[in-house]
């Protein structure tokens, strides 16, 4: 079971991609994209995990030689979340514009409206 967490990350990402491809509502598409991106959080945190490792905040209980989980991937996850929020907000704003122009947010029907 040592690769279990990585499998979870891959599964979350695949589910998100599946949702994007089969979506019938653009808001649902944007949320699915966020779900796919969440797979990267799980993967990053899984890569940095260590059994028995503590949180990387040093003080009286956590010293220099205490095993801690990897703070580098945690920092990357934080960056990831911020970028995800920025992307999601941009996409939702685009969805609002599409809804105004076409009165429809079903991606299957939008192709015909453009033609």
């Amino acid at each position: 079971m040592t690769y279990y967490a990585y499998a979870v990350a891959a599964a979350v990402m695949l589910l998100g991609i599946f949702g994007v491809a089969t979506s019938r509502n653009l808001v649902h598409t944007v949320v699915c994209l966020s779900v796919a991106q969440s797979g990267t959080y799980v993967l990053l945190l899984a890569v940095g995990f260590q059994y028995g490792g503590l949180a990387p905040v040093f003080g009286s209980q956590v010293g220099r030689n205490t095993p801690v989980v990897d703070p580098v991937v945690q920092a990357l996850t934080l960056t990831d979340i911020v970028v995800s929020a920025a992307v999601t907000s941009m996409l939702l704003a685009l969805v609002i514009q599409i809804a105004k122009r076409h009165r429809d947010i079903d991606p299957d029907r939008l192709g015909r409206l453009e033609g």
């Binding site: 040592t2 690769y3 279990y4 967490a5 990585y6 499998a7 891959a10 990402m13 695949l14 991609i17 599946f18 491809a21 089969t22 899984a46 890569v47 940095g48 995990f49 260590q50 059994y51 949180a55 990387p56 905040v57 040093f58 003080g59 009286s60 220099r64 095993p67 801690v68 989980v69 990897d70 703070p71 580098v72 945690q74 920092a75 934080l78 960056t79 979340i81 911020v82 970028v83 929020a85 920025a86 992307v87 907000s89 941009m90 939702l92 704003a93 685009l94 609002i96 514009q97 105004k100 122009r101 076409h102 299957d108 409206l113 033609g115």
Partner: protein, 258 residues
């Protein structure tokens, strides 16, 4: 493309993707192992600058320039959303009247939680170098606290207590402050975003050199960004209406063509 055909292509693609992921994961070190070379290097560098929170140290000290890029992404996204959601031709802004009823228990909860959330946010930002938290987290908490006013009170209350101009300036100021701190590192220290302030004692409130300053700059930017984003979306829902008898946006010509 027909829906069934699309599902077939999707299935094939996902299968190949899953197989490649499985191959890649098989080459990774096992989950939960004790070999983390980057962790060891990062912990040594964190101790070198007397920073208690290793994640803050990495974000604002060891890779400050990357975080500057990240903050700029957020800034650009907010500018993009503000540009996309401004009132366009055929739309006008109306006065939002408070309507509906708010449960008194909800109001009470909000009036209790509003000051608590603001204080918590200030605490999370200020102790970003010492305890878990930091500018990003604290900024989000602060903007959430401000929007509690909308959840439990009224839009007009939020409108009065949230002067948007301040947040527009606060966002820009946060980004400028972050850049200025980085340039100060180059001017007084060895490199761009170098930690030039004396770092004090590990786990003291004032320690870790420039990290708390970066946290404050980021907190300002993140809080302002979220407030501006949410105000744009709230305006779309509540305040911006299409003119009577017309479609919104530059759409009528296309509607006639189809």
């Amino acid at each position: 493309m027909r829906r069934s055909a699309r599902l077939g292509v999707l299935g094939a693609g996902l299968a190949v993707f899953a197989a490649m992921m499985a191959l890649a994961f098989a080459g990774l070190p096992g989950f939960g192992g004790s070999t983390h070379p980057y962790r060891d290097a990062a912990v040594a560098a964190t101790y070198g600058h007397n920073t208690a929170n290793a994640v803050s140290s990495i974000n604002f000290d060891q890779r400050g320039f990357d975080t500057f890029g990240e903050e700029t992404i957020l800034f650009c996204a907010v500018v993009g959303v503000a540009a996309l959601l401004r009132p366009v031709r055929g739309e006008r802004r109306r006065e939002v009247k408070d309507s509906g009823r708010v449960l008194e228990s909800t109001s009470l909860l909000v009036y209790v939680l509003f000051p608590l959330t603001i204080v918590l946010a200030a605490n999370v930002v200020a102790h970003g170098a010492v305890t878990p938290g930091g500018g990003f987290q604290g900024g989000v908490v602060l903007s959430t606290g401000i929007h509690l006013l909308y959840v439990g009170g009224r839009f007009s209350l939020l409108h009065r207590l949230r002067p948007l101009d301040w947040f527009h300036q606060g966002e820009a100021l946060g980004v400028v402050l972050f850049g200025a701190l980085g340039i100060a590192g180059a001017a007084f220290g060895s490199a761009l975003f170098a930690n030039v302030v004396p770092q004090g004692q590990l786990a003291d409130f004032v320690s870790a050199g420039t990290v708390p300053l970066f946290n404050i700059a980021v907190g300002m930017t993140v809080c302002s960004s979220v407030v501006i984003l949410l105000s744009s979306f709230l305006d779309q829902t509540l305040a911006i209406r299409a003119d009577q008898g017309g479609r919104t946006g530059p759409g009528p010509e296309e509607g006639a063509a189809t």
